[in-house]
């Protein structure tokens, strides 16, 4: 499959299904590629996949989830191919495993929602940042469990996606207040805890998420409010940023922006929140403390 088609397929998946996250879409794309692949060796297949990955990174979506998801998928594939000799059989195994993998990924959100909704008690006031599908589903589930709670959402400039989150919540009947990004410090003393999603989870146990998350986390730490992160496990990546500048540029800016402008004058899309500000991570592997993330990654990659 050529580059253009890859990108088209990828974008099509994202546009069609509202609920699909970028990472899952990327993995599905890779599976398609394997299906239509005409290569004869494993190495060729891998090379094709790597090409496709770089194509997807060049489309205008955030790269963190694509990176981690695809790396996991690749590992998945390479681990599978060690046994058999016949390439077709190998391919078949890969396809089976791929479908299994995707099925697991689809289930992962449900598991997270079940864990996280237990932490929302009656009368809670929750603060969230930007729009995260997992958080939205968790709030929906808690609402269905007949819990009464209130949500504060940040507008989250520059794309103001918080307004959409607010609309979605109000459509469910959950009382929701839209606040300015700069009003986080003001509202912090009134909320009970914070729940955010992530684009990616890094090796230190910290997270990479829409810009403004770090501010919220620092503020929460100072006022002693719990900071909960909801994330699927395929978003774990082997990155270890030391500070905000240490984040790779492909994470912070989309591909178009990277090509065109002087990066010093552009606002980044994401920021890095260190693990010391995070209380708990809710994943499909269970509830983890930030130090457990590294444990999981080590088990996988070493």
């Amino acid at each position: 499959m050529e580059g253009e088609k890859v990108r088209q397929y990828f974008c099509k998946i994202i546009k069609e299904d509202e609920d699909v996250s970028v990472g899952v879409a990327a993995i599905r794309t890779l599976l398609e590629i394997i299906k239509h692949s005409k290569s004869e060796t494993v190495q060729e297949l891998e090379a094709n996949l790597k090409d496709a990955i770089s194509q997807m990174k060049n489309s205008n979506y955030t790269v963190a989830a694509i990176n981690s998801g695809c790396e996991l998928f690749l590992r998945f594939i390479t681990l599978a191919s060690l046994d058999t000799r016949d390439f077709d059989e190998c391919k078949k195994i890969m396809m089976d495993r791929g479908h299994l993998f995707i099925k697991k990924l689809d289930d992962s959100r449900g598991k997270i929602v079940k864990l996280a909704s237990n932490f929302i008690g009656d009368g809670s006031r929750i603060l969230t940042h930007s729009r995260s599908r997992v958080v939205l589903q968790t709030l929906r589930k808690a609402h269905k469990q007949n819990k009464r709670f209130e949500v504060f959402v940040t507008i989250s400039a520059p794309d103001n996606i918080g307004t959409r989150m607010c609309k979605d919540l109000e459509a469910e009947g959950i009382p929701c207040t839209l606040i300015l990004d700069s009003a986080i410090g003001y509202i912090m003393e009134q909320v009970d805890f914070i729940m955010v999603g992530t684009e990616g989870v890094v090796e230190s146990g910290g997270i990479v998420n829409k810009v403004g998350t770090n501010t919220m986390a620092v503020c929460a730490k100072e006022i002693n409010k719990p900071f909960y992160v909801l994330t699927e496990s395929f978003k774990f990546s082997r990155l270890f940023p030391l500070d905000q500048q240490d984040l790779p540029e492909e994470y912070k800016y989309t591909s178009e922006v990277r090509k065109s402008c002087d990066l010093r004058k552009i606002h980044p899309l994401v920021d890095y929140t260190p693990p010391s500000y995070i209380t708990l991570l809710f994943t499909d592997l269970g509830i983890l403390t930030p130090s457990a993330v590294s444990d999981e990654l080590i088990k996988l990659y070493l």
Binding site: L79, D96, F101, G121, L285, G286, I287, S291
Partner: protein, 345 residues
Amino acid sequence: MHDKENLSDVSKLVSDIKHKNILSSLDIALRSEDLLKELISQGQWKSARELMNLVKIRIQYIKENLPHEATAANVMRHVLKVIREEYECESKRKVEGQSLHQLVTAHPADVLDYSESLINLKTSLIDHLTEYKVELESSGENIAAQASEHIHMDEIILTVGKSDTVEKFLKSAAKVRAFKVVVVEAAPLYYGHKMAVSLAKSNIQTTVISDAAVFAMMSRVNKVIIGTHTVLANGGLRAASGIHAVALAAKHYSVPVMVLSHMYKFTPLYVGSHNQEAFNICASPANVIPYSAGKILNSIQVFNPVFDYVPPELVTLLISHQGGNAPSYVYRLLSELYHQDDYDI
């Protein structure tokens, strides 16, 4: 269902705990272990799965009746893990727990059913349980044996209330070192008094202070050594009331807080409510203000909470019979003690 009558063993355990016939957590652990041993040797079960179901029913019973009694449930959870291990050992198949690695390498046929009926399962389980009992009984001494590593000459140690584990720990250190102990009396039950008398009888220089003097005293204290009721899954503690204040004062003066805890106190539960209602229980207010106070008791509310939540950032070290650990490592200890699927029974 014949299960209902079989629950008489658990209901006796629960009623003993409620009526304070068994007081120390070690006794509770040993009783639970005995209960399970009987269940395994005499219960009606054919496969590992049936046995596990029986145990799960008991855990649920305890959870409903004594939501804060973690020790019994934890021992049973551990036994569930033992059952799974023995089963896997016997059937020579290995199932990995949930992890990224498992996500990646899983085979669809890998799900273990536990429903095969294996011959040697019963005997191997009982052997394992006997070992576990020995471990339970000796954990106190194992913890106390580490005492000389942590307590040094002329240090001032602060402890709160009465804990058998801490007592043994301090007495063991006192045999080799000379140090002083400050005991906080822990109103309203004043267990600290008993602890102080016991320590002084072992020739340890002891001072008793009231709960209000903790912050004032902390500037001179070198270490805080306390016991706890439960260790939660995030590394936090459910400890006796008043210990949160001690931990905060220790943090303020940068004094290390060491918590001595047996493995059966590690529970896989998290504290979700931030307003203490689900977390805490309240005891009789007569210990706070006696009934002799008269008519004003009609117009006031009196609280006597039993527990306190101590967040993991305030705990420096968790000492168990295997050695010391940071509170951030608790998730790993939990995964060794219990199986992932048994976390939220």
